[in-house]
């Protein structure tokens, strides 16, 4: 089994989507939505990252499951690092970080 040849058209479409999402995220950041600004910005960034991973990096056409396991595992471990550390910071009380 050899590599999948992704048609050029797919790359162009993905690129166009990426540019569009970038413009959306840049524009939305100027609209004050409170907490939602962060949520939307990160959601769009995740979608963009997924597009790059799936198409540019050929994850969608990957023959081996282990590559998926590696990618998902990598992000899951990042989540563990962030999440478990935040169990400390989010429960320390209001001034848990107070400095000089």
């Amino acid at each position: 089994m050899s590599e999948h040849i992704v048609p050029r058209k797919t790359y162009y479409i993905v690129w166009a989507l990426l540019m569009a999402l970038m413009i959306i995220t840049a524009a939305l950041s100027r609209v004050p939505l409170g907490e939602w600004n962060t949520v939307i910005a990160l959601a769009i960034a995740t979608v963009k990252a997924l597009l790059v991973l799936l198409f540019f990096m050929h994850l969608k056409y990957e023959n081996y499951r282990i590559t998926w396991v590696a990618v998902i595992g990598g992000f899951f471990w990042l989540f563990l690092l962030l999440g478990l550390t935040m169990t400390d910071y989010l429960t320390r009380g209001p001034s848990g970080l107070a400095g000089h």
């Binding site: 009380g93 209001p94 001034s95 848990g96 970080l97 107070a98 400095g99 000089h100």
Partner: protein
């Protein structure tokens, strides 16, 4: 102290017996299982020597056994966890009416400040049978207060107050160690906790060279630094009125709510812009570099004292506290 070969530390606090009971439980359980493993390995090694047992049995494994020796240890572990957690929760939650002593650690000495004003270095006098809470901060690196006879320990951080509490139950002198590596003289950063009968403690307090209570020191500082200019005891000040604030929730200008605890007071003096009270402008200057840790602690003690109900006031000059604001605010 003094024995040549002690095998068990003195039990001098209310926490000690609880910790020891948990440890003995752990010793019994783990000792039993360790012994079982050792005996099994030893007896298998003897009984099934090649000379005596030339052909090995063909055994692949047993799922029943695997599940059994996963679940039973897990159950035992959960008992250990719950017991340990119960002890820990007592250790980290100081009783509400504990008497507070401030601790400042620096390379390589301990400074203790009693509310009544006494200060001591590398020696801590505490009364017997009374809940004592240490509020601790470091001037430089991370230190750690460790009193083995009390079975208590807590890191002393720079930049943030941590607390530790105990109730001494046996008079005597006990080791106090710094147990977080802090540089050259780490092993010299040791002290002594002197547990005294309450009467003797009162006598010791009275015999000291204190210059008034910590709260009154803080009050003087509060005046000197010009804090009282804005933090007036009415609603007209440019800064929030601090009477009754301690321990209460405070609404901030970004919508968050914080509890006005020691750390919040400290942060507000040093980085006032970080958590501004709702309805006030961020105009307060930072006192970073102006006040040291000991002065900060006295300010905390003062703010705390003006929030306490009358009957629990120390014998300080409470009525003098709401000093009249100067007619023309001093600029800083």
């Amino acid at each position: 102290m003094g024995e040549s070969l002690p095998l068990w530390p003195a039990r001098a606090s209310s926490m000690a017996a609880q910790t020891d009971a948990l440890v003995l439980f752990l010793v019994a359980v783990t000792g039993f299982f360790t012994l079982v493993i050792f005996i099994l390995i030893f007896s298998f090694a003897m009984k099934y020597r090649k000379e005596k047992h030339p052909v090995a049995a063909d055994i692949l494994g047993s799922n029943v056994l695997e599940v059994t020796w996963s679940i039973i240890p897990f159950g035992i572990f959960m008992m250990m966890f719950v017991w340990g957690a119960i002890v820990y929760m007592q250790e980290v939650r100081p009783p509400a009416n504990a008497m507070e002593i401030f601790v400042v650690g620096k390379q390589w000495m301990w400074k203790f400040q009693h509310q009544e004003g006494q200060r001591e270095i590398n020696q801590l006098h505490v009364p017997l049978g009374r809940d004592v809470m240490l509020t601790m901060i470091s001037q430089d690196v991370i230190h750690d207060v460790f009193i083995p006879a009390f079975r208590v320990k807590r890191d002393v951080l720079p930049g943030r107050y941590t607390t530790l509490w105990f109730r001494a139950i046996k008079p005597g002198r006990y080791h106090l160690f710094c147990s977080q590596y802090c540089g050259t003289m780490h092993s010299g950063m040791i002290g002594e906790v002197v547990v005294m009968e309450p009467a003797a403690y009162q006598a010791w307090l009275a015999g000291g060279n204190a210059e008034g209570s910590l709260a009154s020191t803080g009050q003087k500082l509060f005046q000197q630094l010009g804090c009282a200019t804005c933090h007036r005891f009415d609603t007209q000040g440019r800064g929030p009125n601090l009477v009754g604030v301690y321990g209460k929730p405070v609404l901030l200008d970004d919508g968050r709510t914080v509890t006005a605890d020691d750390n919040y007071i400290r942060e507000s003096v040093l980085t006032p812009g970080a958590k501004v009270v709702a309805g006030f402008k961020p105009i307060m200057p930072s006192f970073n570099g102006t006040v040291n840790e000991e002065q900060l602690l006295s300010l905390v003690a003062y703010v705390k004292s003006i929030s306490q109900p009358e009957q629990r006031q120390p014998a300080s000059n409470r009525p003098a506290v709401p000093a009249p604001a100067p007619a023309t605010p001093k600029g800083r």
